[in-house]
């Protein structure tokens, strides 16, 4: 793709300035309150240069991208100056901006599942971009574009015949993101802004898409502004990295310098919070009591199979879709077993079956001698005992807590339920006479929250705090097994660590963990044993260190290779 169609010379006239994009004192603020989301940042990108804007959620990095393209959401206004190829964009007006968008600057967004029009085909998305920037006279008719659309799809690695006629819902996430990329750069823009382009994708797909972006960027000598929360991805892909926090750029350097000598405390903090996949950070290691792999298992899953589908499909020849296929695992007292795999591997289904939220099709789940495969058939005593033994923490902190109630209500309810569950005379009350309020305070302290938070409702808490309350609610049952389903996947790196520490403390107290995660680095730190799931089957299991250091199965090796290393070679 060396040929350029220069259809809007007014905009693309190459004034030979050194910089392609020159942003100065950019401010994005709320029109109503004046609150600044982006607080006067400077940003320069040369031709063919790759620059990363790294920050956690709320840092203002996405709004920077939107401001540059003139696509801020209603209610936000931009100030300062955005110079692109010799033209001021902030004052350009919508008509002129439309010539720049897609033509001078391409934008690729985060979520491949929502970025494409569900009612039109992949080919139409590319063709409409191609057509929209040509003047009326030389705008090609639809049919003439078929060849060019196929070329563009081939460029992003989609070569199957008929792919152009597929609708978005017929394509996988990775394919959709490729189609989006092809549409975003169909008019050969000089600059591509990619806003978290791989965050919604599985790790193996992430690496493929990033490689693709890298290759096209090099082929075309295209400028790239990568917006990401992931320092390692930025290290691998970019020439220069800007670290953003609360609307300001706090660090700017090339990857080597930034790694070796960050100038701001925040960057140091981010680098320190990074979890390595190849070894365990000593500050997060745990010496769990009684961590004996050969003890009688507390939780034992054997031959677990789960099929989804309508009643008719389940009875039919293919028996619905197979989410779990003969999965087995053992979790001993005081141990932590990790379940890893990509989306669709069945790891969440496994957790839900263990918790009795999903009914397994066949196989057994035994908890401390109670067969809990079907919670409905348990006697009341057994059910109560099982409920107390096994507790859970879910992924999404925002819907894990009932918005209608205060933390005190939520925790007190769980405490009282434990007492009710304990009416069989076993360890339900643990012989203590602690009153409810004191116990609420202690639970909050256990997860590192002040006592006065009990009066608050979930909405007044941050994501990490909510997740800690969810853990406290689980701990109110004094469980011996904690099922954690991606407990830190929705959290920023710096917050992740607080939640992981809370969980580590519980391990140190002898609570066993069934830890579901897609993140091998998290698994390295939080688990003793690993079970690798792929399409509902266990492909490999063993000691965490063994599995991650010497993967025996090809799939495990691929997963490991997909973990960003932070080296340019990772994308080569």
């Amino acid at each position: 793709m060396t040929e350029r169609t220069e259809t809007e010379p007014a905009v693309l006239a190459h004034e030979e300035t050194a910089e392609l994009l020159d942003v100065q004192r950019l401010v994005v603020s709320s029109a109503a309150t004046g609150r600044r989301v982006v607080d006067g940042i400077d940003l320069r990108i040369g031709r063919g240069e790759t620059v990363a804007l790294v920050g956690e959620s709320g840092s203002g990095k996405s709004m920077t991208a939107r401001a540059i393209t003139g696509l801020l959401p209603n209610g936000l206004v931009a100030g300062g100056s955005v110079h692109f190829a010799g033209h001021e964009l902030l004052a350009a007006g919508d008509r002129n901006m439309r010539r720049v968008r897609g033509n001078g600057i391409g934008l690729l967004m985060q979520d491949p599942f929502t970025m494409l029009n569900p009612l039109t085909t992949a080919g139409t998305h590319i063709a409409e971009t191609l057509r929209s920037h040509r003047s009326r006279g030389d705008r090609p008719v639809r049919g003439d574009l078929t060849g060019e659309v196929a070329d563009r799809l081939a460029e992003v690695g989609i070569t199957q015949p008929g792919a152009a006629r597929k609708y978005p819902f017929e394509l996988s996430g990775g394919m959709r993101q490729r189609v989006s990329l092809a549409a975003a750069i169909a008019n050969d823009p000089a600059l591509l802004i990619a806003d978290e382009p791989t965050t919604a994708l599985d790790s193996t797909t992430q690496r493929e898409v990033l490689r693709l972006i890298r290759r096209i960027q090099l082929d075309r000598a295209m400028g790239l502004l990568l917006i990401t929360h992931d320092l390692r991805v930025a290290f691998s892909l970019c020439d220069r990295i800007l670290v953003m926090r609360a609307g300001n750029i706090v660090d700017a350097a090339d990857p080597v310098t930034l790694r070796a000598a960050p100038t701001s405390d925040y960057t140091r903090h981010l680098l320190a919070a990074d979890l390595p996949v190849d070894h365990q950070r000593p500050d997060l290691s745990v010496d769990a009591p009684g961590a004996d792999a050969d003890a009688v298992p507390l939780l034992e899953v054997t031959g677990l199979t789960k099929r989804f589908g309508t009643r008719r499909q389940l009875r039919g020849p293919d028996g619905g879709s197979l989410a779990l296929d003969g999965v087995g695992l053992r979790l001993s007292e005081g141990r932590s077993v990790g379940i890893v795999g990509e989306s669709g591997s069945g790891k969440t289904t496994l957790a839900r079956c263990v918790l009795g939220l999903e009914q397994a099709t066949s196989g057994t789940i035994v908890v401390d001698g109670i067969d809990v495969t079907d919670y409905r058939t348990l006697s009341k005593t057994d059910r109560h005992r099982a409920r107390r033994l096994v507790q859970c923490v879910f992924q999404d902190p925002y819907s894990s807590l009932n918005p209608s109630h205060t933390l005190r209500f939520i925790l007190t309810e769980a405490i009282r339920q434990r007492r009710d569950n304990g009416t069989d005379g076993t360890d339900g009350t643990d012989g203590d006479n602690e009153d409810d309020d004191a116990e609420v305070a202690r639970l909050l302290a256990d997860v590192g929250l002040p006592e006065n938070y009990a009066r608050r409702r979930p909405v007044a808490l941050s994501g990490g705090q909510r997740q800690r309350v969810a853990i406290a609610r689980a701990l109110a049952q004094r469980p011996r097994v904690l099922v954690c389903d991606e407990p830190v996947a929705a959290l920023d790196v710096s917050v992740q660590e607080q939640v992981l520490r809370v969980l580590r403390d519980q391990r140190a107290r002898g609570v066993s963990l069934l830890f579901i995660t897609h993140d091998l680095a998290v698994a390295r730190h939080m688990t003793d044993e690993l079970v690798v799931l792929h399409r509902g089957r266990v492909v490999e299991s063993g000691d965490t260190a063994d599995v991650l250091d010497r993967p025996r199965h090809d799939y495990t090796a691929r997963l490991l290779a997909a973990v960003p290393t932070g080296e340019p070679a990772w994308l080569a």
Partner: protein
């Protein structure tokens, strides 16, 4: 014409209507006072005829003029407020409470329960409610309260669907699942956890059911069904005084406007309340 209005209003929302909300609140309050005390506020006896002064326009003694029997329109409108609004109130309460019960059970318990309830609901929901009401009341009689009863049966499916879908929206949220894994009994989860989160929907459904019932029952009496002639129900008055539009238009326009104002103001209040409760649920105190 009423059965699909509720979901439309609840699903679509709208911008803040600013001053319209307090204005509607005042109007609704005035109408409510008339409904309770109208009979005693009426300046004249609503039933007394004065054929010499029939069909006159507004005057100092008859603010809204008289109808073709010389009866005072203002007094009749005030007198009719109670009978025009009581039926809708009862119908709305009945349909919403039944809808809450069925919607919670169908949405939360699921399974065969849900299948049976929703099969019945879908069947009734597709009926043009007012038309069925007209045929049933017209052919089989039974009067006003029979009409209210039939209306409850015909409006319950709408309320059930709305409340069920609100419940379904909550049922799979992690906080409900967490409540299950803590071991809370199902009835407690349903009442303590799910119900407060669908409350905004229930309140709005109640108010909008009232509007739908007001329209349906007024329409019925407009057609002369369910009430004896000469009744002061607004729909009936509107129909009987339709021929006076050229002599004393107020005799027909006053009840028409009152029905519209009552329906409109309660709708706007319902919309506002729904938005406020929904925000309140998610905001901290």
């Amino acid at each position: 014409m009423s059965e699909q209005v509720n979901p439309v209003l609840l699903r679509t929302g709208g911008p803040r209507l600013g001053v319209a909300v307090p204005v509607c609140a005042v109007l609704a309050a005035v109408i409510a006072v008339a409904a309770v005390a109208g009979r005693w506020l009426a300046p004249h006896d609503p039933g007394v005829q004065d054929l010499l002064n029939a069909s006159t326009g507004p005057s100092a003694t008859h603010w809204l003029g008289t109808d073709d029997f010389g009866r005072d329109v203002l007094s009749r409108v005030l007198d009719g407020a109670g009978s025009s609004l009581l039926g809708p109130v009862v119908a709305a309460l009945g349909a919403t409470l039944l809808g809450l019960l069925l919607g919670l059970m169908a949405g939360f318990l699921g399974g065969a329960f849900e299948a049976v309830i929703m099969r019945g609901v879908d069947l009734l929901y597709a009926l043009p409610a007012l038309l069925v009401l007209i045929v049933l009341v017209g052919m089989f009689g039974g009067g006003y309260w029979a009409a209210v009863g039939i209306l409850i049966v015909l409006s319950t499916p709408g309320s059930t669907r709305i409340i069920r879908s609100a419940v379904l929206g909550q049922r799979t949220l992690p906080y409900v699942e967490a409540a299950h894994t803590v071991g809370l009994p199902r009835h407690r989860i349903m009442i303590v956890h799910v119900a407060p989160n669908v409350l905004p929907t229930v309140v709005a459904t109640l108010l909008l059911d009232f509007v739908a019932a007001l329209v349906a029952l007024s329409a019925l009496s407009f057609l002369g069904l369910g009430l004896p002639p000469g009744s002061t129900n607004w729909g009936r008055m509107l129909a009987e005084n339709r021929t006076l539009l050229e002599l004393n238009p107020w005799a027909a326009i006053a009840p028409a406007l009152l029905i519209m104002i009552a329906a409109m103001s309660v709708t706007i209040i319902g919309d506002w309340l729904h938005g406020r409760l929904e925000r309140g649920r998610l905001d901290h105190d």
